[in-house]
C-alpha cells in the first residue's frame, strides 16, 4: 500500500491563555492528521478547544494572552512555526483558508462582496484589479450567486448567501486545506442543506482537504471521512465514521450520542451527560472527563489516560482500555 500523504500533521499541540482569572489551558496535547483530499470532523462542545485548534493552524492565536506552549504543525512537509510572519501571510488564504461560523460578522460591511473576494485574489496572485474582479464574479457564479451582484454590499444578502460569499472567498485561491468552523450553525436547516451540498461539491472538484469543526454529529455523518472527538483540550477518541458511530468507545462520545433525540424512536429517553464542562482554568487531575463519567474509578482521578490503539484507525483515551487499570465500562465494550 502506498504511503499515506497528509495535508496537515499536528503533533502534541498545547495552547494556553493567561487571563486575569488564571491560566486557561485551552489545548493540552492534541494530535491531528488529515489525509490529502479527506475531511476530518472535529467534534466537541463549547470550550473544548476546537476553534483554538483551528486558529493555531493559521497561527492566529492572539499573543498575548494566548501562547502556543508546545507542539508542531506540519503543513505540506514544513513546520509552520518556522515561518516568518510575512511567509505566514502568504499561506493564509492561499494554502489554508478558513470559513467562520457567523456569516453576519465575518464580512466587511462597507466593501462590496466582489471587491472583498477580489482582494484575496490580488493578495495572492499576480493579476490586476480588473482581472481579479472578473475572477471574483466567476467564483460567485460557482457558489450560486449571479455575478452581477458583485457590486452589492453584505447587508443586501441573506444569511445563506453571505455564507456562500464567504465560501467563495475561502476557495478562490484553491487552498490545500479548508478549515470550516461551524459553517452552518447560524443557518436554517434547508439553507444548511444547500450550503453543505455546495461545500461538498466544491471540495470534490478541487480536491481540497477539510477540517470540519462542528458540534452536530448529524453533519459529521454526512460530510466527514474521519472524526476526532475533543473534550477539555484533548482528543478523547479518534476514528473513521464507522469507528465512532458503530464502535463508540469513549464514555464521553457515548454520552454525546445519548444526548441526541432519536428521530426514529421518539419514545426513547434521553440520557444526558451529568454535570458540566470543567472550568478550563482549573482542569481536574487525571482524566478530564472523570467528574462526569458514570464509569469513573479512583484511578481515573489521578492518572491521565494515554492514547490506546483499538485498531489501525481507531484510538481512544480512556483508562478502561489500558491494561491493569481495573476500570471497566460495564462489560458492554472491549
Amino acid at each position: 500500500m502506498a504511503e499515506k500523504q497528509y495535508c496537515i500533521d499536528i503533533k502534541d499541540l498545547a495552547v494556553k491563555f493567561t487571563t486575569m482569572d488564571g491560566v486557561v489551558h485551552a489545548i493540552n496535547g492534541v494530535d491531528l492528521k488529515i489525509e490529502k483530499g479527506k475531511t476530518l470532523g472535529l467534534v466537541g462542545e463549547t470550550g473544548a478547544g476546537k476553534t483554538t485548534t483551528a486558529l493555531s493552524i493559521l497561527r492566529l492565536i492572539p499573543n498575548p494572552p494566548g501562547e502556543i506552549t508546545s507542539g508542531t504543525i506540519v503543513l505540506e512537509e514544513k513546520n509552520i512555526f518556522e515561518y516568518t510572519e510575512k511567509e505566514m501571510e502568504a499561506i493564509r488564504g492561499k494554502q489554508v483558508s478558513m470559513i467562520f461560523q457567523d456569516p453576519m460578522t465575518s464580512l466587511n460591511p462597507v466593501m462590496t462582496v466582489g471587491d472583498q473576494i477580489a482582494e484575496v485574489i490580488q493578495l495572492h496572485e499576480n493579476v490586476d484589479a480588473k482581472g481579479a474582479l472578473e475572477k471574483a464574479k466567476e467564483m460567485l457564479e460557482m457558489v450560486g450567486i449571479p455575478g452581477n451582484r458583485a457590486g452589492e454590499y453584505p447587508h443586501q444578502f441573506s444569511g445563506g448567501m453571505k455564507q456562500r460569499v464567504i465560501i467563495a472567498m475561502a476557495l478562490v485561491c484553491n487552498p490545500h486545506l479548508l478549515i470550516a468552523d461551524e459553517p452552518t450553525t447560524a443557518l436554517d436547516v434547508t439553507i444548511q442543506a444547500q450550503v453543505l451540498d455546495l461545500m461538498q461539491k466544491l471540495k470534490e472538484k478541487y480536491g481540497t482537504s477539510m477540517l470540519m469543526i462542528t458540534h452536530d454529529l448529524g453533519i459529521v455523518a454526512e460530510v466527514c471521512d474521519e472524526v476526532s472527538i475533543m473534550y477539555a483540550g484533548r482528543i478523547v477518541e479518534h476514528g473513521t465514521l464507522e469507528d465512532i458511530f458503530n464502535r463508540t468507545s469513549h464514555p464521553y462520545t457515548e454520552g454525546l450520542f445519548g444526548s441526541l433525540p432519536n428521530i426514529e424512536k421518539r419514545e426513547e429517553e434521553l440520557k444526558p451527560i451529568p454535570g458540566l464542562m470543567p472550568d478550563p482554568t482549573n482542569l481536574p487531575a487525571g482524566c478530564p472527563f472523570h467528574p462526569r463519567c458514570v464509569y469513573c474509578q479512583e484511578i481515573c482521578k489521578s492518572r491521565v489516560p494515554a492514547q490506546t490503539h483499538l485498531s489501525d484507525t481507531h484510538t481512544v483515551a480512556c483508562l478502561a482500555y489500558e491494561e491493569g487499570t481495573g476500570v471497566s465500562l460495564g462489560g458492554k465494550h472491549s
Binding site: E45, T46, S158, G159, G160, M161, D188, V189, T190, I191, Q192, A193, Q194, L196, D197, H215, D216, L217, G218, I219, V220, A221, E222, L241, E242, F245, N246, G255, L256, F257, G258, S259, L260, P261, N262, I263, R266, E269, L270, K271, P272, I273, P274, L276, M277
Partner: protein, 318 residues
C-alpha cells in the same frame, strides 16, 4: 372527551414597517389539550416566536381569538391579563439576555412572587424560592450568585424556575434549548418533560430543531411565512409528511447515524419577504410542484386525513 385548555382561532399579527405591512402570523388556528405539548416548527422569520408572544399578548394580536379555559382573552383588560399571566408563562430562548444581570438568582425567581404578592412574609417567599430551585436542579448555594457567574444551562434553569413560580397551567417555551450544548440540552429537555408529568403542564414548544420537536411534542404545527402549512400528530407528521415544504424540511435534517442517508430534497432559493406578501401560496416560489394556480390563490388548511391538516392545492396528489 377532550379537555381543551387553549384554542386559537384565526390569530393574526401584522406589523407596520416603513416598507409595508409585515404579515408575521396570518390566520393561525389550533386547539391544545390540557397536559399535551404542541410543537411549532419553522425557519427564521416564519412567525413562530410571534405566535407564542401573541398568545400571551406580549404582542397585541391584530385580529383573531385566543380562548384560554373557555374565555377569549384578546379583549380583556390589562389588569385582568396581568392576573391571567400567573397561569400562562414563557421560557425564553436566550438565557443570557432574559435575566436581569443586576439581580441575584433568588431575586429573579422571587420577582413574580413579589409582583403578584403571593406571600405575606419574606420567610415563606424564601422557602418557595428554595423549593423552586430544588425543583429545577439548582443547588441552594447559588441563591446569591448573579447570572453572569453561571453557565447557559444553569441560567436556563433559572428561567424555568421563574416561569414555574406562579404554578402556571400553560407555558410557551420559545427555543429553550437552542443556545445550549447537546449534553446540557438533553438535561434541560428531560427536566421540562419531568415537570410536565409532575404538574400536568401544557406546553407550546417553539423550535427550529426538528429532532427535538419530535422528541418533545404530541402534535406539531409546521409554519412557513406566517401560515400553517401542515398540522398533525408527531408520529404522523414524521412518518407521512404531505406538504412539499414539510418533506423538504424533514429531509434536510442531518441524521447522526450511518447508513441512514436518505434522498435529500434541496429547496431552491430562500424564504421570501413577509412584507406585503403576494397572493397565492407563500411557498410557491420555492416549490418544485408549483402550478399557475398556486401563485394566484392561497390554499386553505384542510383535513387531508383524520387529524392531519395540510395547506396545499395539490395535497391529495402527494
Amino acid at each position: 372527551m377532550s379537555d381543551v385548555l387553549l384554542e386559537v382561532k384565526n390569530l393574526t399579527k401584522y406589523f407596520e414597517t416603513p416598507a409595508g405591512t409585515l404579515h408575521a402570523v396570518d390566520g393561525l388556528t389550533f386547539r391544545l389539550e390540557r397536559g399535551k405539548t404542541l410543537g411549532v416548527v419553522g425557519e427564521s422569520g416564519c412567525g413562530k416566536s410571534t405566535t407564542g408572544r401573541a398568545i400571551l399578548r406580549l404582542h397585541e394580536p391584530t385580529s383573531g381569538e385566543v380562548i384560554f379555559e373557555g374565555r377569549d382573552i384578546t379583549g380583556i383588560s390589562q389588569k385582568e391579563m396581568t392576573r391571567l399571566r400567573t397561569e400562562m408563562q414563557m421560557i425564553f430562548q436566550d438565557p443570557f439576555a432574559s435575566l436581569n444581570p443586576r439581580k441575584t438568582v433568588s431575586e429573579i425567581i422571587a420577582e413574580p412572587l413579589r409582583l403578584h404578592k403571593m406571600f405575606k412574609n419574606k420567610k415563606e417567599q424564601e422557602k418557595r424560592v428554595l423549593e423552586l430551585m430544588e425543583l429545577v436542579g439548582l443547588s441552594e448555594r447559588l441563591v446569591n450568585t448573579y447570572p453572569h457567574e453561571l453557565d447557559g444551562g444553569r441560567r436556563q434553569r433559572i428561567g424555568i424556575a421563574r416561569a414555574l413560580a406562579m404554578k402556571p397551567k400553560f407555558i410557551v417555551c420559545d427555543e429553550p434549548v437552542s443556545a445550549l450544548d447537546v449534553s446540557i440540552q438533553a438535561q434541560i429537555l428531560n427536566l421540562l418533560k419531568n415537570l410536565q408529568k409532575e404538574f400536568g403542564l401544557t406546553y407550546m414548544f417553539i423550535t427550529h430543531d426538528l429532532s427535538v420537536v419530535n422528541y418533545f411534542s404530541d402534535e406539531i404545527v409546521v409554519m412557513y411565512l406566517g401560515k400553517v402549512v401542515e398540522h398533525a400528530s408527531s408520529e404522523d407528521l414524521f412518518a407521512h409528511p404531505i406538504h412539499p415544504y414539510t418533506k423538504a424540511l424533514l429531509s434536510a435534517i442531518p441524521i447522526p447515524s450511518l447508513g441512514a442517508r436518505k434522498e435529500r430534497i434541496l429547496l431552491k432559493g430562500e424564504i421570501t419577504s413577509p412584507i406585503n406578501p403576494k397572493p397565492g401560496c407563500r411557498f410557491a416560489p420555492r416549490c418544485e410542484y408549483a402550478q399557475p394556480c398556486c401563485f394566484e390563490q392561497s390554499p386553505e388548511l384542510k383535513e387531508q386525513e383524520p387529524n392531519h391538516f395540510v395547506s396545499c392545492h395539490f395535497s391529495d396528489k402527494f
